[in-house]
């Protein structure tokens, strides 16, 4: 290092030989000869003021280039007592640098400081208190307290604002002292200061102190202080605005109104020229808008207002762009709707710095949707011909990610990749093969036609990842590649020179091949097994080799099941940030955490704790009285069956407004262990599908999940009055109706819902239709913010209340919920008639599934028809509407059957016995007042019943029959 300085100085000397050098500060560097210190000492002690000042300047100049001039300490301090402000400032500069190494000497300066703190000139008072705080010597800090206390109450705001920062400095040196002296309280008082700059600095100082005391509650934010901060926000400097905005972001408003009013007052900051102000404002808005009801006009306005400032950040200097892009990446994941029309601003300019290019690329993929995919692909293809190899590789990968993200574009992506492979540019080909492998995993059996082209490039692959990918493809599709054995054999030759990745892949591929074509490849498989187990030092490889060997030798069928099992599909989510982390990062927009996409706790030195920030919850459902019509106005147009969530579907999150239409009793049913059993049966199977590693022991872990739920519920205060009713209702114990309730089945497997598994059934209890759900969290992170919405359906089923999941659902936990349903929702005929499409939202995403409910759900309690009416109606309904069904294998007599059916609101009106045959006449009324009439014939000794159903709406007959069968058989 030292040599560097010397070089510096020398070059400086040469540069400044010219005439001008005498005029400029560079002359201070010119004395580098021996005895310099001695010379300076003499000059510092000179009688002439001018000489003194020049000497101090020389000392400072030496200091700036890292030279040690601490030996001059006493001489420099002697110059402190002066009325020349420049000289004073220079001495202060020196003091700050060296006081620590000369603590005893530093005491000499104290008197002057104390005196300067009383100076009539506020500039000098401020300067003194400011410098004193920078001298990090314990002995001095004791003397600092009194002057500081005075300065904090100084009449001049400039002094007060400087003193506020000084408290933070002092706290850094001696925290205990600051607390003992009560400076923290004084600082808190300054938040109410009349001068906005003082407020801003007090906030900044408190924030810094609070960082080292995470639980100190120093910044006790309440509506009054918030109001003061918002007032100061408009009038203080840009830096002060940043401090205040960052502080505001820690506040949690009481309700959506307060949230909105804060947002309204923060929005103007989006037009500030300072990008840090803009981004801090974005943070506040992103956090607080979480609390706003989505149907609010203002919510939409706010969303629109967020886009332009974010776009503007991208026209700033590249360093600013980079930070902005990292944050936009988060924002796009949280709220893709903000920037969904701004794809073009993320197009890469060829002279963007590489770090900007890569970030833009990432965001382009996140914004890719069916609507813009053509444009995106054209761009990516363009990038793939650029000069920078790293960037080209990323561009090729991006094409693959697009294929996986936007299903409709997969074909186009594949053909683009094939075009790129045709260029024969080596690294392009290799990247393309790696991503095509991923595409195969996402869309199995769809694009195998390209395998031939891939095989042509086999020889050019020299990177392990590409080789491994190619081998995987050959193994996976061995049955369709005629010369698969030759291809794999060619890799086998240099087995020991390959990287582990390739070796493992080769082993698996050959075993796959063997299982598919056992006759021709026996030799090959033996060869690879012996290579892997006997000649390799790599334990992973050896272990895998042994496993295969044993599997193949003991149970080839099992081997087939394991090795050729169906693989879980990969999806776009793999590169999404985990939702809880994302939420936390959104609360930290603009910080280092947001740049690194790591939790803030990873950034603070040492053991200082960090409070985890969460987004506030949306305005509670209890307050939805303000918008009672939302439930009907915006039902989600849920597509049928399970659909993997995709970019454009996320947009539905907006439409999916979940305010309940009425204030019905919320019902949470803590029906303990029952759910857990089902969960093991249904859920686990689907989860384990194809996963070799999953052993039954996993079940134990899952089964133990639904812990302590009732206790947690009891303590949840939010439910209010409804809670009392809740248990009576939900417990389902004393219900007299013997209505049959089917066991829960899995409606939404965890695999398709990012770890959320939903199983459920329907029940009618005491005239109330209920959907009993078991929500199981099989993901790694906590799930919150559940809500549910139905699509229109044949009988207008709709949730009668919100989905009450009061506690966050932790990993491996199951919660049982009973959702009361009403039949007053919008009606649309479904196919099949009893199909119900459901959307469930949580903090992670929206998921869709469909299920079918038994029609008996809709059989009302007053469905017993008068005999006369029955007869008349029966005759009245045309014979064409009559349908006949056989119910087989029922071993009940007519009375028992009749009783059983009554439990499900199928009422027997009359019974006739003709020739040993019991005729039961029955009626059923549906919630939408459709009457169904039935005649059931039971022959003693014959387990098969004949059922004739007559109804004005013959479509329902079949479903009524299904109910009969269900009820009678269970």
């Amino acid at each position: 290092m030292m040599t560097k300085h010397v070089r510096n100085l020398l070059s400086l000397l040469q540069e400044n030989r010219g005439l001008g050098s005498k005029m400029t500060d560079s002359k201070y560097f010119t004395t580098t000869k021996k005895g310099e210190i001695f010379e300076l000492k003499a000059e510092l002690n000179s009688d002439k003021k001018e000489k003194k000042k020049e000497a101090v300047k020389k000392v400072i100049a030496s200091m700036t280039v890292g030279k040690d001039v601490s030996a001059l300490f006493p001489d420099v301090v002697n110059c402190m007592q002066t009325d020349n402000l420049e000289l004073k400032k220079l001495v202060y500069l020196y003091l700050m640098n060296y006081a620590k190494s000369q603590p005893d000497m530093a005491i000499m300066a104290v008197n002057t400081f104390v005196k300067d703190c009383e100076d009539p000139n506020p500039l000098i008072r401020a300067l003194a208190v400011r410098t004193m705080g920078c001298i990090r010597v314990d002995k001095i800090t004791e003397y600092l307290c009194e002057p500081l206390r005075k300065c904090l109450k100084d009449e001049d705001p400039y002094v007060r604002k400087t003193a506020a920062v000084c408290v933070a400095k002092l706290h850094d040196i001696n925290a205990q002292l600051v607390e003992d002296q009560g400076f923290l309280d004084t600082l808190k008082d300054l938040i109410s200061d009349s001068n906005p700059m003082v407020v801003a600095n007090a906030v900044a100082a408190l924030s810094e102190i609070a960082e080292s005391h995470p639980n100190s509650n120093l910044l006790d934010l309440n509506p009054q202080t918030i109001n003061k901060l918002l007032t100061a926000l408009n009038e203080c400097t840009e830096w002060g605005q940043i401090f205040i905005l960052d502080c505001l972001a820690n506040y949690t408003p009481r309700d959506d109104r307060e949230s909105q009013s804060i947002c309204e007052r923060v929005t103007p900051r989006l037009s500030h020229a300072n990008s840090a102000v803009v981004l801090s404002a974005v943070k506040v808005l992103m956090k607080f808008m979480e609390m706003l009801p989505k149907d609010l006009d203002y919510y939409g306005t706010l969303l629109k207002k967020l886009a332009p400032p974010l776009v503007t950040l991208l026209s700033a200097e590249p360093e600013l762009q980079y930070v902005a892009l990292r944050n936009i990446n988060l924002i796009v994941q949280k709220r893709p709707e903000i920037l969904k029309h701004e794809m073009k601003v993320f197009f890469v300019k060829y002279n963007d710095p590489i770090y900007v290019k890569l970030e833009k690329l990432d965001i382009m993929i996140r914004l890719a949707s069916q609507a813009n995919i053509a444009q995106v692909l054209a761009e990516l293809k363009e990038y793939a011909t650029e000069v920078d190899v790293d960037f080209v590789r990323k561009a090729v990968r991006a094409i693959g990610r697009c294929a996986i993200k936007v299903e409709q574009s997969a074909e186009r992506c594949v053909s683009t990749l094939l075009d790129l492979i045709q260029t024969k540019v080596n690294y392009v080909v290799q990247e393309a093969i790696v991503v095509i492998k991923d595409i195969f995993r996402k869309y199995p059996n769809k694009y195998e036609s390209v395998i031939a082209t891939l095989c042509e490039n086999l020889d050019s692959l020299d990177e392990p990842e590409a080789r491994a990918a190619m081998i995987w493809i050959v193994g996976e599709y061995a049955e369709r590649i005629d010369n698969a054995d030759e291809l794999l054999e060619s890799f086998l030759e240099g087995f020991h020179d390959e990287s582990t990745q390739v070796q493992l892949q080769l082993l698996t591929a050959i075993v796959k091949l063997f299982l598919k074509k056992p006759t021709e490849t026996q030799e090959l498989v033996q060869q690879v097994l012996s290579l892997a187990t006997q000649d390799s030092d790599n334990p992973d490889l050896r272990d895998r080799g042994y496993i295969y060997w044993r599997l193949l030798s003991t149970d080839p069928v099992a081997a087939k099941e394991v090795v050729l099992a169906e693989k879980p599909l990969i999806s776009e989510e793999t590169d999404l940030i985990e939702p809880t982390l994302l939420e936390e990062l959104i609360c930290h927009i603009g910080t280092l955490a947001s740049v690194y996409h790591k939790p803030p706790s990873a950034f603070v030195e040492g053991s200082r704790g960090v409070q985890h920030k969460r987004l506030p919850a949306r305005a509670g459902s209890g307050e939805s009285a303000e918008s009672p019509d939302v439930g009907q106005s915006g039902p989600a147009e849920a597509p049928p069956a399970v659909i993997p969530s995709q970019g454009d579907l996320l947009g539905d999150l907006l439409n999916l407004d979940l305010a309940p239409p009425t204030a019905t009793i919320p019902s949470v049913q803590p029906s303990m262990q029952m759910g857990a059993m089902d969960l093991l049966g249904g859920g686990l199977d689907s989860l384990l599908g194809g996963d070799i590693g999953g052993s039954p022991s996993m079940g134990a872990g899952l089964g133990a999940a639904p812990a302590a739920m009732p206790a947690a519920l009891g303590s949840a205060p939010a439910v209010g009055g409804g809670l009392g009713d809740l248990f009576d209702l939900g417990g389902g114990v004393g219900m007299p109706t013997g209505a049959y309730v089917a066991p829960k089945t899995v409606w939404l497997p965890a695999m398709k819902a990012k770890g959320l598994e939903i199983s459920g059934t329907f029940a009618r209890r005491g005239g109330i239709i209920q959907m009993d759900l078991s929500l199981t969290n099989k993901a790694m992170s906590v799930m919150t913010d559940f809500a549910i919405q139905f699509n229109r359906n044949s009988f207008g089923l709709a949730p009668a209340g919100p989905l009450q999941v009061l506690t966050p659902l932790s990993p491996n936990q199951t919660i049982d919920v009973s959702l009361p349903l009403s039949t007053s929702g919008p009606v649309m005929k479904m196919e099949p008639l009893n199909n119900l499409q459901v959307a469930v939202k949580n903090n992670i995403d929206v998921f869709y599934f469909s299920c079918q409910y038994p029609l008996s759900l809709l059989f009302v309690e007053d469905g017993k028809m008068e005999r006369q009416v029955f007869l008349a109606t029966w005759k009245d309904i045309p014979n064409d509407n009559e349908a006949q069904f056989q119910i087989k294998d029922i071993h009940l007599n007519s009375d028992a059957a009749s009783n059983k059916l009554q439990g499900s609101n199928i009422f027997t009106i009359a019974k006739r016995t003709v020739e040993g045959q019991d005729m039961l006449y029955q009626s059923v009324k549906l919630t939408n007042a459709i009457w169904v009439l039935a005649e059931m014939r039971i022959q003693t000794g014959n387990p098969n019943y004949t059922l004739s159903i007559k109804c004005r709406a013959p479509e329902v007959s079949q479903f009524v029959y299904q109910c009969y069968e269900l009820v009678l058989k269970n």
Binding site: D25, L123, A273, S275
Partner: protein, 430 residues
């Protein structure tokens, strides 16, 4: 907050350091030097660099890296904005921001840095306030100071420091009162092979030079304010008034400042003032390639396109080019790879053609052949053409100032508005 600042020159030497809290050893910069070494181009150094105990945030301006050291969680944009402010201040004070200028004024630099940041908190960053605290060096003042021993440090608390208009000091006096506004628009565009626009946007600014006596209160209104839906204002602009009436109302800072910057996005149609016809091709198996480039004016609203400069990085493997410009001069430097023009943040390309003005009657062209290295295969990449140009008296977005009024003072100022359109990052793919 900001702990320390290191200035590093282009050859990788630290030539100034400043610490606002305790001293951080300059060895922390080793992490920066590592990143610098890894970067293929000087501007590819990542802006944020983690080290075990600190974070380094750097900006590159005027071939100097400004490396800030931070220890705790600090908004990086805050640091970057501040660093840019430091650069602007240096430039404001010394005319240029170079290593030599900084060393020539090292004491002033030190005083400035001390005044701008206190314990890592920004203290005074407004040029007006700083200039009252620390007078900028002028040759005259330096001479006078050397002779009389007077100081360039202000003795009084700057008046603007705490006023509601911190950007303006009281008691400003001019004999000639003038207010000039420059509307400057830059077009950023990517044009594809076939000549159609992939993306185009306009970055506009209104820079002002206001030298008015007293406390003038100005209003500026536009013929078509609707164009300005994405704007960033100088803090002096009254935001409420803009929201309500779309009028810029402000008490201006004294001297030069940027009143507002705006962004006209790609969703509005952006006029493209020049077109390029190009044919850059290589034949398979031949060591010769063809190069043809013709420029022409497109949507220029009848104004002349001037100061046109075309540059392009020809594919690797191109050894020489034998070209013939119909006007202007061209340089082709096959030896030196990629010079960086840091000021504009652009590559100084291998091929550069200084065209001058485009005459619509006689379109400028550059034609000829390129020769490839012997044995080199046909290049994979297509060169991108960078175009710079200027159009005087035109704001390409169509933005027009309606009127400028002054309140609060009695005299009549000179007023002037100038328009100009420039190419920003204007790229044509081939």
């Amino acid at each position: 907050m900001i702990h320390s600042l290191f200035l590093v020159n282009a050859s990788g030497d630290i030539f100034l350091e400043k610490h606002w809290k305790s001293v951080v050893s300059r060895s922390v910069c080793d992490y920066f030097f590592e990143a610098l070494e890894r970067a293929t181009e000087p501007e590819n150094v990542p802006p944020v660099i983690p080290t075990p105990h600190h974070y380094l945030i750097n900006v590159l301006r005027h071939r100097i890296y400004f490396v800030a050291v931070i220890q705790s969680e600090v908004p990086p944009l805050f640091v970057i904005e501040f660093l840019h402010r430091v650069v602007d201040t240096f430039q404001d004070y010394f005319g240029v921001c170079t290593e030599a200028a900084i060393k020539d004024n090292v004491v002033v630099v030190y005083e400035l840095l001390e005044e701008m940041l206190d314990n890592g908190f920004p203290l005074a960053t407004e040029s007006n306030i700083l200039k009252e605290l620390i007078k900028p060096p002028t040759i005259l003042r330096t001479v006078v100071n050397t002779i009389t021993g007077s100081t360039n440090v202000g003795e009084q608390l700057p008046t603007g420091q705490l006023s509601v208009v911190p950007w303006r000091r009281t008691g400003v006096k001019y004999t000639n009162n003038e207010a000039y506004f420059d509307v400057v628009e830059e077009i950023d565009a990517i044009i594809d092979k076939s000549g159609s626009t992939i993306t185009a946007e306009i970055q506009g600014v209104i820079d002002a030079c206001v030298k008015l006596t007293g406390m003038p209160d100005l209003t500026l209104s536009f013929m078509n304010p609707r164009l300005l839906d994405d704007v960033s204002f100088h803090p002096c602009v009254r935001f409420k008034r803009w929201e309500a009436e779309r009028i810029l109302s402000f008490i201006p800072p004294d001297g030069n400042f940027r009143l507002l910057s705006y962004h006209v996005s790609s969703q509005n149609l952006v006029a493209i003032p020049v077109y390029v016809k190009h044919n850059i091709s290589f034949r398979e198996g031949s060591s010769q390639g063809r190069f043809e480039l013709t420029l022409g004016p497109k949507q220029t609203m009848g104004k002349a396109v001037e100061s046109v400069l075309v540059s392009s990085q020809l594919p690797r493997g191109v050894l020489n080019a034998n070209l013939n410009p119909s006007q202007g001069t061209y340089t082709f430097d096959p030896v030196t790879k990629l010079h960086i023009n840091v000021a504009t943040n652009c590559y100084w390309q291998l091929l550069s053609w200084d065209v001058g003005k485009i005459n619509p009657q006689k379109l400028p062209s550059l034609k000829g052949s390129m020769s490839l290295q012997a044995g080199a295969s046909k290049p994979d990449e297509n060169p991108t053409i960078n175009i710079q140009f200027k159009i005087q008296q035109l704001a390409i977005s169509g933005l027009k100032v309606n009127r400028l009024d002054m309140y609060g003072e009695k005299y009549k100022p000179f007023k002037g508005i100038k328009y100009m359109t420039k190419a920003g990052k204007f790229q044509v793919r081939t």
